[in-house]
């Protein structure tokens, strides 16, 4: 049942959700990710797998429908773009506080405010540090191709259930709107009610019918001493995630003197820049964080031992560069290059910046 297709990143999310045995999608249209719900509506999975696809009245409603369905141990998701994700912040915090699994796709556009509909990576801070109020973390996956848009849906669900935690896929208008070849895997059936009872019966609301004690799904705790224990438990979980779930890709790093760090669409542009730089004889490598939380801090710190300098390339004003500086320290330069507001730099522009800010200064 494996097959190759040519699809848009957004369209493939719909295909991936159905094939991953997703129980429900709740969303509200917003460019540049509306094809997700459009494709799902066209696929009519409620007639085949029984998956629910529902256009809610708002993003706030969507994320709270996700909360409700996730409370029942269901495999559920939503998707939106930057302004819509802001509206979901409260719900994301509640999901994290109640330790509920879910997948949230953010196909980023330029901001702040309504901003533009063109591609951006300006929600790095939002995704990795400030998804909502309170001390919580989301696992953040950053796909850089249509294939990864597909693959990270099932990976996202797997991690969400493994840690009972929201997972955010941080994509952007480039990856969402482009078409590439994608290999689709064989469909996985939806979980049966018996499966959910057996595996998640200790927390999910499955209907208790005698037998076990009642499960309570809540993020409210009025006693600060108990709330602190809840926080400590969450922090221990995040610690485990940082130890076990770091994912990254290194391209031509072994002999590199200069390093670029970029994720998602910016990493695609940088992989072309590396080809250009290598052709000119410069030893440049690329570190691509695949998980933005947990961050591949160790590998960047290790590479800093051999590096003369780092350049982060981001479609924002320089957000991830702060994390790279934390990993590298002060002994070598860590510079940033990027464009904002929906402008996407070409490989040529990035290569000029790399020479200007790093190579020519340090060689």
């Amino acid at each position: 049942m494996k097959e190759v297709r040519l699809m848009k990143g957004n369209e493939v999310i719909a295909e991936a959700a159905v094939r991953a045995g997703c129980d429900g999608y709740f969303g509200y249209p917003i460019t540049p990710q509306t094809e997700v719900i459009e494709t799902l509506m066209e696929m009519k999975p409620w007639e085949t797998t029984g998956m629910v696809v529902l256009q809610a009245e708002s993003e706030i409603a969507s994320i709270n429908m996700v909360y409700g369905a996730a409370s029942c141990g269901k495999r559920v998701m939503t998707s939106s773009s930057s302004p819509g994700i802001s509206l979901m912040s409260e719900g994301l915090s509640y999901l994290a506080g109640a330790e509920l699994p879910c997948l949230v796709l953010n196909v980023q556009r330029g901001g702040p405010g309504l901003g533009t509909i063109q591609p951006s990576q300006s929600d790095y801070f939002l995704a990795t540090k400030a998804g909502g109020h309170g001390d919580f973390r989301m696992i953040v996956l950053a796909p850089n191709s249509v294939q990864e848009m597909y693959d990270f849906v099932s990976l996202g669900f797997e991690l969400a259930f493994k840690y009972r935690n929201p997972v955010m896929m941080l994509s952007d208008g480039v990856i969402g709107q482009m078409m590439e070849k994608v290999m689709l895997s064989a469909p996985v059936p939806r979980m049966t009610d018996e499966y959910i009872k057996e595996h998640y019966g200790d927390w999910a609301l499955t209907g208790k019918f005698g037998g076990r004690a009642g499960n309570i799904v809540t993020s409210l705790e009025l006693d600060p001493a108990i709330q602190e224990q809840v926080n400590e438990k969450l922090q221990a979980k995040y610690q485990k995630i940082t130890e076990q779930e770091v994912r990254y890709e290194e391209i031509l790093c072994d002999d590199a003197e200069y390093f670029m760090v970029a994720f998602g669409s910016a990493a695609r542009i940088c992989s072309k820049v590396i080809e250009m730089a290598r052709a000119d004889g410069y030893k440049v490598g690329l570190i691509r964080p695949v998980t933005l939380y947990p961050y591949p801090s160790k590998v960047i710190a290790q590479r800093a031992q051999q590096a003369k300098g780092f350049l982060t390339v981001e479609l924002n004003a320089g957000q991830m560069v702060e994390d790279v500086r934390l990993c590298v320290g002060n002994h070598i330069p860590v510079e940033y290059y990027g464009r904002m507001g929906g402008m996407v730099p070409t490989p040529g522009e990035v290569y000029e910046a790399l020479k200007d800010k790093i190579i020519n200064k340090l060689k």
């Binding site: 709107q177 482009m178 590439e180 992989s271 820049v273 730099p345 490989p347 522009e349």
Partner: protein, 181 residues
């Protein structure tokens, strides 16, 4: 084999679907492909463009700095993209509506009067496949057989009745493209 191209014109000229047919044709030929459109308000009346890459190697960046080939279908796109064709590259344009013709000497320039040809036939819907035919004549990156297969794949089944007309338009485009001396 590696082709990095831009197709640019007005929304409604079939720019994005021409790119889609090419991308599908590349898939039929077992190549790697990427199709990166302009999207949003541009599609609703302004200029529209799509970057298509076809390669026998994995494609690193779907965003290009300059292009092996530019297919240009209005003046705004000519102003924007003439200078972004690589030296030695190809520029193909329909002269209809072009007031400032391209002047570069370091690229090969072709004209294709597809608007006029479609008007003669009274079927403007074949415009983009005719242009595509012209392109394939000068840059045969995929076989005609795979283009026809890609064309079919890129269309919904309800539109398959238009396949013979579009195949013929591709052949016509191959005949009417001219090198600008």
């Amino acid at each position: 084999m590696k082709e990095e191209m831009i197709i640019a014109g007005f929304g409604g000229q079939g720019v994005l679907s021409m790119g889609k047919i090419l991308a599908y044709s590349g898939v039929m030929q077992d190549y790697e492909v990427s199709w990166m459109p302009s999207y949003g308000p541009e599609m609703r009346g302004g200029t529209a463009n799509v970057t298509v890459m076809i390669s026998d190697q994995p494609i690193s960046s779907p965003i290009a700095h300059d292009y092996d080939t530019a297919i240009i279908l209005n003046q705004q796109s000519m102003d924007k993209f003439e200078n972004r064709v690589k030296p030695g590259g190809i520029l193909i344009y329909d002269t209809n509506g072009i007031t400032h013709h391209p002047t570069r000497k370091d690229i090969r320039i072709y004209t294709i009067d597809a608007t006029e040809e479609c008007a003669k036939r009274g079927n403007s819907r074949l415009f983009n496949t005719m242009i595509l035919g012209g392109y394939l004549k000068v840059r045969p990156v995929v076989t005609l057989e795979n283009v026809f297969a890609g064309l079919k794949k890129s269309l919904p089944e309800r539109a398959w009745k238009s396949l013979p007309d579009n195949e013929e338009a591709i052949r016509t485009g191959m005949e009417i493209i001219r090198e600008q001396i």
